[in-house]
């Protein structure tokens, strides 16, 4: 359809592929395969660490779903999305050094390695592995569905073809390059996301004749667009505030974020990453959601939220720039999926295969299993995404909140509370997951708060009470 849009997308695909080939050299020559393939040899510098955290976190919903909701809701949704600013500094500050020190000392590769060692319990390994596999698998499918539909609408190719081109590229670079390929492509993709956001924001403000003129158009249509409460005054301050738990501090409980806290080179890298990460996440989240609101002043009357960002881009930018900016949502989608794929694969290989099936596998067997597992998971995700389930933004948020409720307390209290034990951790994981699913099905947004709040609270109470009430098994002096 539009070559100027297709060419930049293809050029980036080639770049990502080449990064995979380059990273493959490290995989081939490394003398510690597991640490290289699933953790990039713990060599991330500050810039790469910041970009991979952001690119992993920023997904289809940041670039497509989110701006679409902002379009129909107004500035209130930009306010809500700014609850994501802490992800730039909070994850690394809280997990950061302690996690990095312990992980190196004990040679942890996965989050589950840490949980297993801390709580000395195979049940925890199983619950954690299953929840990572189930929740992140569905999350990957949701991301691919978003990606496939986006490419379909941009290029005119069929959904199946668009999906296959992108999914196979991602699968190949993850497969051959491992974690190092994932974080390096994340870095390139994060840059595309950042520059794309800035270019589109400036072009949108100019096309609308300045902020003032756009704001007065919005006020004329419905004054609530410029209020913090949303177009129908549906956003209460309590509800919006609880997003600080879902997409702000709770992010610490996401394994794909937490694992990055043990992958960096030294404390200097971590310090740089915190500063860079805060600036970049602030710019992208603020920019993309504000763009969604401003779009209303330029292209009123778009019915489907997911079309707002692509239509606006084609409207306000020249074809070549539009092609570049439209690679940003694809970059966001690919970077999220690649990180999830390598994480799920590491869970299956390190936490299931090496724990329960073949504890004394040799280096060659581990290598082969890792490739096959990654390949099979990647292929299964593509297969499911070809017959897509619905709900883009909310399916993604479901796996989000569910994982947070499961992992946040076993990770955080495992690091900082010496009295926490395996009974507390197991019961809090079970309560966290089951109460999240029950609330989501039966009583969503209970008491006017986001669904995630009560499950996280329940799992905290459970963790503390059960740990205090049970015998001191699995207690370790890691808290100091």
């Amino acid at each position: 359809m539009n070559m100027a849009v297709i060419v930049p997308l293809l050029l980036f695909l080639i770049l990502y592929f080449l990064i995979g080939v380059w990273a493959n050299r490290y995989v081939k020559t490394s003398n510690n395969f597991l640490q290289e393939y699933f953790l990039g040899g713990r060599e991330l510098g500050g810039f790469v660490l910041a970009m991979t955290l952001i690119a992993t976190y920023g997904s289809a919903s940041s670039f497509i779903g989110g701006p679409g909701v902002a379009y129909t809701t107004g500035l209130g949704w930009v306010l809500l999305s700014m609850a994501q600013l802490p992800t730039g500094y909070f994850v690394l500050m809280v997990l950061g050094k302690k996690f990095a020190i312990i992980a190196r000392k004990n040679n942890y590769i996965t989050i589950i390695d840490f949980l297993k060692d801390r709580y000395k319990s195979n049940i925890i390994v199983l619950i954690s592995a299953l929840s990572i596999i189930i929740f992140l698998f569905s999350s990957m499918i949701a991301q691919w569905v978003g990606g496939g539909r986006l490419i379909e609408s941009l290029t005119g190719l069929s959904y199946q073809t668009s999906l296959l081109i992108f999914a196979v590229t991602v699968l190949v670079y993850v497969l051959i390059g491992g974690f190092r390929a994932v974080v390096l492509t994340d870095t390139a993709q994060g840059m595309v996301m950042l520059v794309g956001t800035i270019v589109l924001l400036i072009a949108t403000i100019m096309a609308g004749g300045g902020l003032q003129s756009i704001m007065s158009k919005l006020t004329a249509e419905n004054p609530n667009f410029v209020s913090p409460y949303g177009a129908d005054r549906q956003l209460t301050s309590l509800y919006v505030s609880t997003f600080w738990i879902l997409v702000g501090v709770g992010v610490i409980g996401l394994p794909q974020m937490a694992v990055r806290a043990m992958s960096y080179k030294d404390s200097k890298s971590m310090h740089r990453a915190i500063i860079i990460g805060t600036v970049v996440i602030g710019t992208i989240m603020f920019g993309m959601h504000l763009i969604g609101v401003l779009a209303r002043g330029i292209l009123p009357g778009i019915e489907i939220g997911d079309k707002v960002m692509p239509m606006l881009t084609l409207e306000v930018l020249s074809p070549v720039l539009a092609g570049f900016v439209l690679s940003a949502p694809m970059a966001a989608i690919m970077s999220t999926i690649s990180s999830l794929l390598i994480l799920v694969s590491s869970t299956v290989v390190k936490d299931i295969y090496l724990n329960f099936i073949k504890p004394n596998a040799n280096e060659k067997q581990i290598k082969q299993t890792s490739f096959w597992v990654t390949m099979l998971i990647g292929a299964a995700v593509i297969l499911f995404a070809l017959n897509p389930p619905e709900l883009l933004v909310w399916l993604n948020l479901f796996s989000f909140g569910g994982l947070e409720s499961v992992f946040i307390w076993p990770i955080v209290l495992g690091l900082y509370w010496g009295k926490g034990n395996k009974y507390g951790a197991i019961s809090s994981m079970i309560i966290g997951m089951s109460s999240y699913i029950l609330f989501d099905r039966l009583y969503p947004n209970a008491l006017g708060m986001h669904t995630v709040v009560l499950p996280i609270l329940f799992s905290l109470i459970t963790f503390i009470l059960v740990s205090l009430a049970s015998p001191s098994v699995g207690r370790r002096g890691t808290a100091g």
């Binding site: 306010l79 050094k97 301050s237 002096g477």
Partner: protein
């Protein structure tokens, strides 16, 4: 029951608390300006640089302030520690 194994943990704990404090400051600033200035009639809002004042202070200035605070904390409070086994590992 606290076992002090390693000096580096004390640094890590202090820095984790700073992370929590920063989020609290971030939230209060964000909430205070958004709902403090934004709760009135939207037609009577004051505007700064083309944006409603509540939004300007809460989302634009708030983000800049947090970036500065994070930078200051990292530069003046956060300490560099070695992650290698040899140093600091006194059991």
């Amino acid at each position: 029951m606290v076992i002090l194994k390693d000096k580096r943990y004390a640094i890590a704990h202090k820095e984790a608390i700073i992370g929590v404090l920063l989020v609290i400051v971030n939230f209060l600033w964000w909430y205070g300006f958004a709902y403090g200035l934004g709760s009135g009639d939207p037609r009577k809002y004051q505007y700064i640089l083309g944006l409603p004042a509540w939004f300007f202070y809460s989302c634009v200035v708030g983000t800049i302030i947090m970036t500065i605070l994070v930078y200051l904390c990292i530069t003046f409070i956060f300490k560099e520690v070695s992650f290698e086994e040899e140093e600091g590992n006194r059991k």
